[in-house]
């Protein structure tokens, strides 16, 4: 086991975990931040997407030892009042079906909009292709991203 101090959603947290533990399980099991989901464990489905120093990353495949000195943002910390333009757009379009993949979808979309304020359809497809949704809520996700970009 090893001790790490990590910065999550602006707060400093101390954890004592196995160095190879993916940050996903540190968030979920140690810190009770369960909004970030486990879907595949091999960075293929996007359900575990978080931001590391502002960039999207698949938390299931990143050991805690590699992110200890970086700033992590999860769905719980995306906005202080749950009012990020994407969260507002998700409400407006009533996007989720089962809802399980949605935190990952929102985190991927938030990273896109940070870099590209006015993404084209192709830009959205490209940024979101790593996020699976078996309910296939894709049309609503796309519409919500466009709506957030315009807000």
């Amino acid at each position: 086991m090893a001790k790490y101090t990590i910065t999550i959603n602006g707060q400093s947290k101390d954890v004592d975990v196995d160095p190879d533990t993916p940050i996903l399980w540190v968030l979920r099991d140690e810190l009770n931040l369960v909004g970030t989901k486990y879907g595949c464990g091999i960075a293929q489905c996007g359900a575990c997407t978080i931001h590391i120093d502002g960039n999207p990353a698949r938390s299931c495949s990143l050991p805690v030892s590699r992110v200890a000195d970086k700033k992590i943002t999860t769905i719980e910390g995306l906005s202080a009042e749950a009012n990020h333009p994407l969260q507002e757009a998700w409400r407006k379009h009533d996007v989720p079906q089962c809802g399980y993949c949605q935190a990952g979808q929102i985190m991927s979309a938030a990273a896109l909009l940070k870099e590209n304020k006015n993404p084209s359809d192709a830009d959205i497809d490209d940024a979101m292709r790593g996020n699976l949704c078996r309910c296939a809520s894709y049309t609503k996700i796309k519409a919500a991203i466009k709506s957030a970009a315009n807000s």
């Binding site: 086991m1 970030t36 464990g41 809802g99 949605q102 309910c135």
Partner: protein, 715 residues
């Protein structure tokens, strides 16, 4: 009225906190989860007291109303739409309603199942009556108080008003009203009076989903809980011979290793240790049953398609005689692989088994059946097994089978610990309960350019089409008609998969009809309409399972909206119409060639599901079903070798992703008929519409799924 017996612990589900701005908020303190995520801002002050009317409705002294949602929520949105039906007849403002998930309780609720797209259809009348009965009790109480006639009282948004102007809210009347006798046949609204039904209402769990609140099975935590994984046979037909857990026990955080049946559980302090510990197990397996291959599956299915069954599922006339008299015979065979369910939330369940009983919490489509099976497994009374339903990260049929809950119960019982059993994605994909591989053969006899005989043969592993499916269209429209079904045993576990049987049969049938229409030189839409005209004028046989007018209604609507030209070439458009799960659907797909491969650009979809409860949520189901149907028909393949699936995760198993989705235009048939479900019925026709459009774009007919395998040479 039977008093609502929901125990006090469960009431603490709703935790009141004070919002930053001073208003009251309902916080989330869900069954032990530690999260204060705000889930709903209340429109009214939080009541000091709740009055229980029945298992569905609680009214607070401030007028706030709690409605219990009885059925499991798998993403079909019944946790919003079922309470909407109650709220409509109760006549309260939707903003004043708080929704709670009901626990399993067979005394209070009937059919607590998510399956077959039946929740709304079966719940409709009972839910309306539940709301209307309580409304009547409240109105009668007000009338008595005022010494007035109930007929002189009107209700709007939980407020009762007398013709003379006096008014009173539900909150003030609830205690008295709850003592009245429950009317058995309360007056229901005319659909023209609906204020909530037919209006889009947002998913009641939206705030939790947007803020990462603990809603799902895997999010559940209990103090002192351990995490468990299980090593299962890597191939079907294998048994555990021996295992060595030396390395597993060296993994930090691993508490215990326990064999149970044919599996080995690793119990640990956290999920990662449980997963690592499982990987470190060294096990020896013995092949006890046949190790099946996909080649064997395919050959077996095709062999069976050449046989007739002893008990055909439908016989009209004599197909053999008609084939002999035909000018021409057209025969085509269609084949589909096994498919895993791919719920985004892998299977999981919490169980705590003690001498007092078993407590289970998690995502399950069949809580009632699972309760009985857990009781049987542990050899205890059913009453000693409690099951609470979490929101589910998808179901699609997989969570009908409570194997994961039984595993959790068994491992908790053996380890004497509260445990959360979690499947890795590999476990989920390799130890699935798959859509069975199946094949269909269609053979028709043509005389004087008319279809005089139709013979459908099905071959399927571990099952055959059920219910009224043998009485599907086009039976009733063809004089000589026969359906034969063969089931072949396989040791691969199989089960219901979103729109069972229809999910593949619809494609096969509708692709065949498209080819048949072409052979007869008829427009595919007009060809179908001609068959329906025959089925209506002079139906063949004793019964068929569809209503001609509704079927024709969606066909005409979809064709009109898509700009289908009955005398034109309709280049790159494919048509499909299918009836399943009590809902009528027609879809027109438009395909374009992109980089040498067909891409689905747009779908026009016409739906007749009766009254639409929650339009935006209904569109979600319709669009989701279509894209899911396209995705699995186009891309998803699943191969077995030596009894073992050759895909274990999403790098080896393709699901549709955002760049591959079409735009979708949904068109509802306006209707005042009782509502039917939408979780499944738009999926089956998607594959057929796309296959027929691909033919227009490429000249290639699709006979096997996934289509992409037939198209690779084009790219």
């Amino acid at each position: 009225m039977k008093n609502n017996k929901i125990n006090k612990d469960r009431r603490s589900f709703l935790k009141v906190t004070t919002a930053v701005g001073g208003g009251m908020l309902i916080g989330f303190n869900w069954m032990g989860c530690k999260s204060d995520a705000v889930v709903k801002e209340l429109s009214l002050p939080y009541p000091k007291e709740w009055v229980d009317f029945d298992a569905f409705i609680k009214i607070g002294d401030t007028g706030l109303v709690t409605i219990m949602s009885p059925n499991p929520e798998i993403g079909q949105n019944i946790k919003t739409s079922m309470p909407m039906i109650i709220a409509e007849e109760l006549d309260v403002a939707w903003k004043d309603v708080v929704v709670e998930q009901a626990p399993l309780n067979t005394e209070w609720y009937t059919r607590q199942v998510a399956g077959g797209s039946q929740s709304i259809r079966h719940g409709w009348e009972a839910l309306r009556k539940t709301g209307a009965a309580v409304k009547q009790m409240l109105v009668e109480t007000a009338a008595e108080k005022w010494e007035a006639e109930p007929s002189d009282c009107s209700v709007e948004n939980g407020m009762i008003t007398h013709v003379d102007g006096r008014s009173i809210g539900y909150g003030e009347l609830a205690t008295e009203a709850s003592k009245r006798e429950v009317p058995e046949e309360p007056k229901l609204k005319d659909p023209s009076e609906f204020k909530i039904i037919g209006q889009s209402k947002r998913n009641v769990d939206m705030e939790g989903i947007l803020t990462g609140a603990p809603l799902f099975g895997t999010d559940f935590k209990r103090d002192g809980m351990s995490y468990a994984t299980a090593l299962r046979p890597p191939a079907f037909g294998q048994e555990l011979k021996s295992f060595d857990d030396t390395e597993t026990r060296k993994v930090k955080g691993v508490q215990d290793v326990i064999r149970f049946g044919n599996k080995v559980a690793v119990i640990a302090d956290n999920t990662w240790a449980a997963m690592k510990g499982k990987k470190a197990l060294v096990a020896e397996w013995e092949q006890k049953q046949k190790a099946e291959n996909s080649e064997y599956h395919s050959k077996t299915l095709l062999d069976y398609l050449e046989k007739k069954s002893d008990e055909p599922r439908r016989v009209d006339g004599d197909v053999d005689k008609a084939f002999a008299e035909s000018d021409e015979v057209l025969e085509r065979t269609y084949e589909a692989p096994f498919l895993p369910h791919s719920c985004m939330e892998p299977m999981n369940f919490f169980a705590h088994v003690t001498e007092e009983g078993a407590e289970l919490i998690g995502p399950i489509q069949t809580p009632q059946w699972t309760q009985q099976r857990v009781a049987d497994l542990l050899k205890i009374d059913k009453e000693k097994v409690s099951i609470d339903m979490t929101r589910m990260g998808g179901g699609f049929g997989r969570r009908l089978y409570g194997d994961f809950a039984l595993e959790a119960a068994e491992v908790s019982s053996l380890s004497k610990k509260p445990i959360q059993m979690i499947f890795s994605r590999e476990d989920d994909m390799m130890a699935g309960t798959y859509r069975p591989a199946s094949a269909y053969k269609f053979k028709v006899g043509i005389k004087d350019n008319e279809v005089i005989a139709y013979h459908l043969t099905e071959a399927c592993f571990n099952g055959q089409m059920f219910g009224t499916m043998p009485n599907n269209f086009p039976c009733g429209a063809i004089e000589n008609y026969r359906v034969d079904c063969h089931t072949i045993e396989s040791n691969i576990t199989t089960g219901a998969w979103r729109a069972p049987y229809a999910n593949f049969l619809a494609f096969a049938e509708q692709a065949f009809l498209d080819e048949l229409a072409e052979k007869l030189e008829k427009d595919p839409v007009q060809f179908r309409l001609d068959l329906f005209a025959k089925a209506k004028e002079k139906p063949v046989g004793e019964e068929h399972n569809y209503e001609v007018d509704k079927f024709v209604g969606v066909i005409k609507l979809a064709a009109e909206k898509a700009g289908w030209k009955s005398d034109g070439d309709n280049s790159n458009l494919g048509f499909c119409a299918y009836y399943s799960h009590n809902t009528y659907v027609a879809e027109v797909a438009e395909v374009e060639m992109e980089d040498g491969l067909p891409k689905v650009k747009n779908i026009h979809c016409a739906v007749d599901c009766g009254i639409v409860i929650n339009p935006n949520a209904a569109i979600n189901q319709i669009e989701g079903g279509i894209i899911d149907g396209i995705g699995h028909a186009m891309y998803s393949d699943f191969v077995f070798k030596d009894g073992q699936s050759q895909s274990n995760n999403y790098h080896q198993y393709r699901l549709i992703r955002m760049p591959e989705i079409p735009t979708i235009d949904v068109h509802f048939v306006k209707s005042n008929n009782d509502p039917t479900g939408l979780g499944e019925p738009t999926l089956p026709p998607a594959g057929g519409a796309v296959a027929n459009a691909i033919y227009k774009a490429t000249g290639l007919r699709m006979y096997t799924q996934p289509f992409i395998k037939n198209l690779e040479n084009l790219g």
